[in-house]
Amino acid sequence: MSQVVTASGLGDRISSLRVSLRKLTLFLLLAILWLALTMATETFWGASNITNLFRQTALMSILAIGQTLVIITAGIDLSVGAMVGLSSVLVSLMMKAGMPIPAAVLLTLSFGFLVGLYHGIAIRRFGIPPFIITLASLSILTGLGLLITDGATISGLPKEFTGFARGAFLGVPNLFWVVVLVGIPIYVLLRHTRWGRYIFAVGSSPEAARLSGVNVDRTFYLVYALSSTLAALVGVLTASRISIGLATTGMGWELQSIAASVIGGASLFGAVGGVIGSLLGAMSLTTIANGANLLNVNPYIQQMVTGFLIVFIVYFDQSRRRSQ
């Protein structure tokens, strides 16, 4: 029996190799896509397009990271797109009312946090499934945004605010720095803290987690609060980027964030997913959109390509997992 436990942990290396293999596949796919686009178009590898690509990716990446946290618990958050729209409206209205920028941003993020907490409580205490409660919020938040703006856009935002999304620091777009500021702590949370471990444990078996003394409720509150807060952050950044507050601005983004998360390797059955995968997933989606634009591909076809990509990648992943 002594040979069964190898201190060197050969299996360890093999299994971590497998994980990175999947990311490598996605990374290669992305590289091929980039190379093809560079050769096919003159503009793709231009400084302005790359900067633009990173800006576009940034917003989707942050949403996807939040969505992935929820998906690891075998849940789903359909409200993030609506939250983007509403928080772009809220932050704009508060600034227009003369509130200092930091206060307006902080209040908007707090609103997101509270909505997420409400999702967690509704799921755990009232027994409403994640799909339903966040679908309801999708409707409520969109309606609320339209109601308080009467469907109109809010423009005339302060220059300091709108300048942020367009600015750069050390030659890297500010928006991308935000991704770093969000991504690294959440990566650490997931991989190196016990709360992160609990997120995976709850996604694998809530019952086993509970019997091991894990506070399952609090774990759910954490992921839904984070997801909503990050969506509110994306709403603020979107308002800065397009210089307006608009209730319908994040329409459909919830589905894109789920797509990015799943393309990046998260399993809707729970217990699988991560930050790097979410980033790669978001980058893949944005690249396809960006490339299709440059190539003058019909945007409708572009949507279909995204759909087929999801089917292909998830099928590929499933068959690989089955064969293990």
Partner: protein, 504 residues
């Protein structure tokens, strides 16, 4: 859809169904060995045996859910080649299951006709079915409205619906597996009338029950199963409840495990007068180095009691003392805090996070101690996981291997390692050896012995009497939510304990 049964086998003495030398094994473990049994039309045949004696396997072979490993099945004297559940149903064999396989969100009529719906041009004839279903229910004397959702019926009424399906299928052999477990007295009487009517109509009936009084009220003949073997079949007049129990329980001593003697230490846990949902006024103490066995049939309240001790449900009365001090246990984390560990029966779903690796599972209950400001010391985590793995001889490549890919016995060890890592000293095992093979069983017993040597106290719940009988230093017998007896190690024979649990 109805396949025709082989032509009737001539002489009226031919049994409806005959099992000849049936074997069933799973890997190297025999569930049935050389079982021969003849079931006659117009006869109620009772089958008795302990949990794990092979009754369920026998039923599953008769209804085609399991393929037999060896032996022959005869239907009206002709060897049977068809074997799937649908074939057996069409042939005329129907079993009323313990777990009622009905759809709660459909109506009674829809459930009755499930799989054999009346239709025309692919459209259901719902009215016709409702009417027919009602006619059948009325005819059987069940006062159930066929338009009701199954959901809205009592458990007993649902059981009656399951039984009514036997009439729809016009089954010639009807098998009842513990049919009265959820029935009220009046519903049970209704059932008995129905069973006698089935007998009069010339059907064959197999009746499986723990309740001796029912068997002696109904059956014409009775067969005893033990450890997968059919010991005897005799007319009911030629035996008594006590004789049957003695036959079910008789077994060469020392079958399972000789417990190495460990010095019994101090009292770790005292439970006094604990009452709660499904159990009433239970008291016991657990000492270091001691195994306390809880024995009872399914539904006797032993699992409910243990769940409450571990904080799953809250007790309504009674006290729990830990090392002399009274503790309040309102949720699992309180119990874990108090040094208790529950190793649940369905370890695959309740004991482990299957998609996570071995190391993460071992550390799961102990993460607060392994982390500073929430950040896990992964080097230490992996080191300790490896340590437990080698001490308990977990057969895995490394601590990074996914738990779901381990064997049942090794998964059980990972659950135990988790609790050792957390420093628990009271281990509650709920059916520790259900569904593991013989070798894994031996490993689990060895692990339990290791726990005792470390000075831990162990509670084992089992519905397999030989297991708790051989292992437990003190054995508590549960029946209908009450503690009906307490015995020291091998103070009395199997038969006495079984009689207490059954209430004969």
């Amino acid at each position: 859809m109805r396949i025709t049964a082989p032509a009737s086998g001539g002489a009226s003495g031919t049994p409806l169904v005959r099992l000849a030398n049936i074997d069933k094994h799973f890997g190297g473990t025999y569930a049935l060995r050389n079982v021969s049994l003849a079931l006659k039309a117009g006869e109620i045949h009772a089958v008795v045996g302990e949990n794990g004696a092979g009754k369920s396997t026998l039923i599953k072979i008769m209804v085609g859910a399991y393929a037999r490993s060896a032996g022959e099945l005869f239907w009206k004297g002709l060897p049977l080649r068809v074997s799937g559940p649908r074939d057996m149903l069409a042939l005329g064999i129907y079993a009323v299951n313990q777990e009622m396989l009905l759809c709660p969100h459909l109506t009674v009529a829809e459930n009755l006709f499930l799989g054999c719906e009346a239709g025309r041009y692919g459209l259901l004839r719902a009215r016709d079915m409702e009417r027919q279903a009602q006619a059948i229910l009325d005819d059987l004397g069940f006062s159930i409205d066929s338009r009701n959702l199954l959901f809205d019926l009592s458990i007993g009424q649902r059981q009656l619906v399951a039984i009514a399906r036997a009439a729809i299928y016009q089954s010639e052999l009807v098998i009842f597996d513990e049919p009265t477990a959820y029935l009220s007295r009046s519903e049970a009487d209704l059932l008995f009338t129905l069973i006698r009517r089935f007998r009069k109509e010339g059907r064959a009936i197999v009746y499986i029950s723990h309740r001796m009084e029912e068997i002696f009220e109904l059956a014409d003949r009775v067969s005893v199963l033990r450890d997968g073997q059919l010991l005897s079949t005799r007319p009911i007049q030629e035996t008594t409840p006590n004789a049957l129990i003695a036959e079910m329980a008789a077994r060469p001593i020392g079958d399972i495990h000789h417990k190495e003697s460990v010095a019994i230490g101090e009292t770790l846990l005292e439970i006094e007068g604990l009452s709660g949902p499904g159990f009433d006024n239970i008291s016991m103490t657990v000492k270091g180095g001691e195994i306390v066995g809880l024995f009872g049939l399914v539904g006797s309240g032993r699992s409910e009691f243990v769940r409450s001790v571990f904080g799953r449900t809250s007790a309504s009365a009674g006290t729990i003392r830990r090392g002399g001090k009274s503790v309040r246990i309102r949720r699992e984390s309180d119990a874990i805090e108090a040094g208790m560990a529950l190793i649940p029966e369905s370890r695959r779903y309740e004991g482990l996070c299957l998609q996570l690796d071995v190391g993460s599972n071992i550390s799961l209950a102990n993460l607060p101690a392994l982390s500073r400001f929430g950040v896990i010391d992964t080097v230490e985590e992996q080191r300790r996981a490896r340590q437990w793995m080698s001490r308990l001889k977990v057969a895995a490549n490394s601590e990074a291997m996914t738990v779901g890919r381990l064997s049942g016995g090794n998964q059980q060890k990972v659950v135990i390692a988790k609790w050792l890592e957390h420093g628990a000293d009271i281990f509650i095992f709920d059916e520790p050896t259900v569904g593991v093979d013989v070798a894994a069983k031996a490993e689990i017993y060895k692990t339990i012995a290791q726990l005792l040597q470390k000075g831990a106290g162990v509670i084992i719940i089992s519905s397999y009497l030989p297991e708790v009988y051989d292992l437990a230093d003190s054995l508590h017998v549960f029946r209908e939510g009450r503690q009906v007896a307490q015995f020291a190690h091998k103070q009395v024979g199997h038969d006495v304990i079984l009689a207490k649990a059954i209430g004969a």
